[in-house]
Symmetry: C2
Subunit: 526 residues, 2 copies
């Protein structure tokens, strides 16, 4: 496998003719070969037209073929071997061990969705028997299944060049649902994107599926992404990135002639409530664990703990002092891109200059161009409640301790929060009563509620919710990680009195696919 600097439009490799760009190594502060040709609106249209042409055939393909596609993609990614890890490392400065873990996670996600496709519950089969004797009018035979929405546009994240990118969770869940996918390559990891794209392209070809099941387009700026979201063939959008970027795509999607759903995972400060008994009992361990979680991956996680809420007192002072020391001992690390490093530094400078905010500690300094170091701030609940900007995410290893006078103020801080991906409770038994008062608010505010852990680390399982109310995501009804992610790309269709000869397999009398089905209100595998 080579990196040619090309887009993948169905089965074709096409060099874009709208200028060129190179990937950038933030650790060496240098561009990386080769140059990539940038595509334009015509290339996007070609990818979308191919996707539309493939959509009916792909969703009609046997369930086993769809599952095999996902597994073949995983196998082809494995076959890329060390080349993939080296390229992703050069493009992201993420450690190779982390990238190997991320590759395993990416393959695990693909395999989870393969298993899910075979299981068939995604299909949501429902059968209501006819009642020919009903008066005044007979009831018809009614059956419903869920089918794919149609072609999906995927925008990968900078911070997960494998698991949230070309073959990441959005692509895996869309392909599992039966939707063709058009990915816009993230400009920060163009080579990684092409390698993984070719792994998918080969899997599509090997399984004899229509070429339009997958395309990868490349472009700079917003024009190509907005053209992709605006194309009539596209029926949904998966995005992980900044609030500004997500909002821009939401606007494009809402202003189409046919508006479409956008699943944008955007910004979250992931509040961590350290309740009094736990804070007193485990001050040091909590402070150190927090500093570790905050600086993991240079803080470049969607679930980074950017906010700590606790009640004032000696224990909180000790927590802050210990966290500060732990942070100061941590060296600066290279961030994903020069742009992210610059934005991070101006973010922490602005926060340090905010009235009512104190800078408690910083990590060790570095002269490296793209380095980021930890930063811990503190403020009072009164200041926090009065200044909405203190809720804004600073992407990177920065966090803000909010000191509350009492439990009532702590509850007010919780109620004041915007939507979050996660909310964490550090609690001992003596804290349960307060935790029970907090829980209804946290349920309204967050997609995932953790007890006595740290939010970084998002398991890929059936129960995972990596979602949450706006602005954490654009659609609180969904998750972008875990099995439930498939539901984003499905819609129900009902069939009334359709003859068996024309009935979709999932709904035929004899249940040829062996699915769990809801028959006259009872769930059964018949």
């Amino acid at each position: 496998m080579r990196i040619a600097g090309e887009m993948l439009l169905g089965a074709s490799s096409v060099r874009g003719m709208q200028g060129s760009m190179r990937a950038f190594d933030p650790a060496r502060n240098a561009e990386i070969e080769p140059s990539f040709g940038m595509g334009g609106v015509a290339d996007v249209a070609r990818a979308c037209d191919l996707a539309a042409a493939a959509a009916d055939a792909y969703r009609a393909a046997p369930i086993e073929t769809r599952a095999r596609l996902l597994e073949a993609i995983a196998e082809n990614i494995a076959a890329l071997g060390e080349m993939l890890i080296e390229r992703a490392h050069a493009e992201s400065a993420l450690p190779k061990a982390r990238l190997e873990g991320e590759r395993a996670r990416t393959m695990g996600q693909l395999k989870l969705f393969a298993q899910l496709v075979r299981d068939g519950r995604w299909c949501g089969a429902v059968l209501d028997s006819a009642m020919p004797e009903r008066v005044p009018a007979p009831r018809p035979d009614l059956r419903a299944q869920r089918i794919a929405l149609g072609p999906v546009a995927v925008f990968g994240a900078s911070n997960f060049p494998l698991a949230f990118s070309v073959a990441g969770g959005d692509t895996a869940s869309a392909l599992a649902a039966g939707s063709p996918v058009v990915v816009k390559a993230h400009p920060a990891h163009l080579g990684t994107s092409e390698l993984v794209g070719r792994a998918i392209q080969k899997a599509v070809a090997d399984l004899g599926l229509p070429e339009g099941v997958f395309s990868l387009v490349i472009g700079a700026g917003n024009a190509i992404g907005e053209a992709l979201v605006a194309h009539p063939a596209i029926k949904a959008v998966g995005f992980t990135g900044s609030r500004q970027g997500g909002l821009a795509l939401m606007r494009v999607a809402a202003s189409r002639r046919e508006p479409i759903p956008v699943y944008a995972e955007m910004s979250s400060v992931n509040p961590m409530f350290v309740l009094p008994a736990a804070l007193a009992a485990r001050t040091d361990a909590l402070a150190r664990g927090f500093a570790d979680s905050l600086t993991l991956g240079v803080g470049q996680f969607c679930t980074n703990p950017g906010l700590v809420v606790a009640i004032e007192g000696a224990a909180l002072e000790e927590f802050v002092a210990t966290a500060a020391r732990a942070l100061q001992e941590k060296s600066a690390q290279t961030m994903l891109t020069a742009g992210i490093a610059t934005a991070y530094r101006s973010g922490i400078d602005a926060r340090a200059n905010t009235a009512g905010v104190t800078r408690v500690a910083e990590g060790a300094a570095s002269d490296a161009q793209c380095a980021g170091r930890g930063a811990l701030f503190r403020t009072t609940a009164a200041e926090f409640l009065a200044n909405a900007q203190l809720q804004d995410e600073i992407f990177g290893p920065a966090s803000l301790v909010v000191q509350c006078r009492d439990t009532e103020e702590l509850l007010r801080v919780a109620e004041h929060l915007e939507g979050q991906l996660t909310a964490t409770l550090h609690i001992d038994e003596a804290d349960y009563a307060l935790a029970a008062r907090l829980l209804p608010t946290l349920e309204r505010k967050a997609g995932r509620i953790l007890a006595n852990g740290f939010p970084t680390g998002v398991e890929v399982t059936h129960a995972m919710v990596h979602g949450g109310p706006f602005p954490a995501t654009s659609d609180a009804r969904t998750t972008s990680v875990g099995a439930m992610a498939i539901e984003r790309f499905l819609r129900p269709v009902c069939y009334q009195d359709l003859p068996q000869a024309l009935m979709p397999a999932a709904l035929r009398d004899e249940n040829p696919l062996g699915l769990w089905r809801l028959r006259d209100g009872e769930l059964a595998r018949r």
Copy 2:
């Protein structure tokens, strides 16, 4: 129970101070007493604040209480007796027998959702066991359930003053999901709305639930509805009405600081494909059945068959001639409102004056102010494909026959269609091959596909989909009729390592609610 002309803001009855309006009897062409006080933005805010204050307590109420609320609403509606039917009849000109059927349907919907709430599958309980021994890191315990989105704004439809209004499908499914509801009364049936609203208000009080679980606001024009959708406490919108009205609410919802989902059921022409063998074999019966379906309820159904697609020839000519005769024999009927009657007449006048369209037949004329009579038009597929306006819905008993030269042209017409609530196939066995070619397109275009029936008549069952791609609705992922409607108002929340003492009942180890749960990927009632 009296009609006082008041809004219901939680437990209070409040006369709006922003002017007054009366309901209108379209059959007598006269206003109906009493006058209703119109509310303003402050009244909307009061209703929304009460809803927000009630939201946590209502969703935390026992499942049985929520089910009882729905049943109590049905009982209280029954207790309104003949007064409700008479008022609805005066306000809508719908026949009393039809309104009695609609009342039964409304009560049936409430009871279906009560049963659904008790069943508990809506909760979507998922449990993934911890893996304490996993390397390199243990896996936490992860559990997920679905909870209510929060307060829902409901806009009732003019054409179903009971089943799609104050206690209609949107309200029933939102209350079932655990969401408080704020209804904006439809100005065409203010008295019906107040009566039903009081039935709900009483049920909420009798069950000791927080008053904010239900409110009913009254206002003219768009301002009060837009204020309702814009209020920060509102987390989702249910709407049934015109495309213009739905689009306006979608814009308001999308431009909020926190965008929210809008479930708008808007416009559909419900294409009916009459395939050659069926057309030849059953010409007369199909033509008469079509004319009956078209004029049922003066064509004022969302699923009215506004488009007939068939291949040219003697059988089609006979179909058109028979349908024309059947239509001419039908007398004009009073439409729901003066506005609808006026819009219908200008709609059919405009269509009659469209190049390439021929008026085939009209129903018997009437001098009554608000009367509407059937209208049948025909055109060619070539004209239809060239003029997008021929797809626009004319709300009322009007339909357009599209004559295709051959099967390929018929398939092109299908592909050309916008999103629909329904698509109908009239088929005999000899048509199955063509039907099989049509089906993938119809699945992409419609929420419900019928064979050998007529689309009017929407059963309330588990499998029903009363939804479909834009512009049929604003969100093809959902239905506004049937059990799946509850899913619109739910979102998943994940709990990681939460102690049993704090765990929601649905997710506790011992399954105290006896729910179907997905445990480590296996569905079981344990």
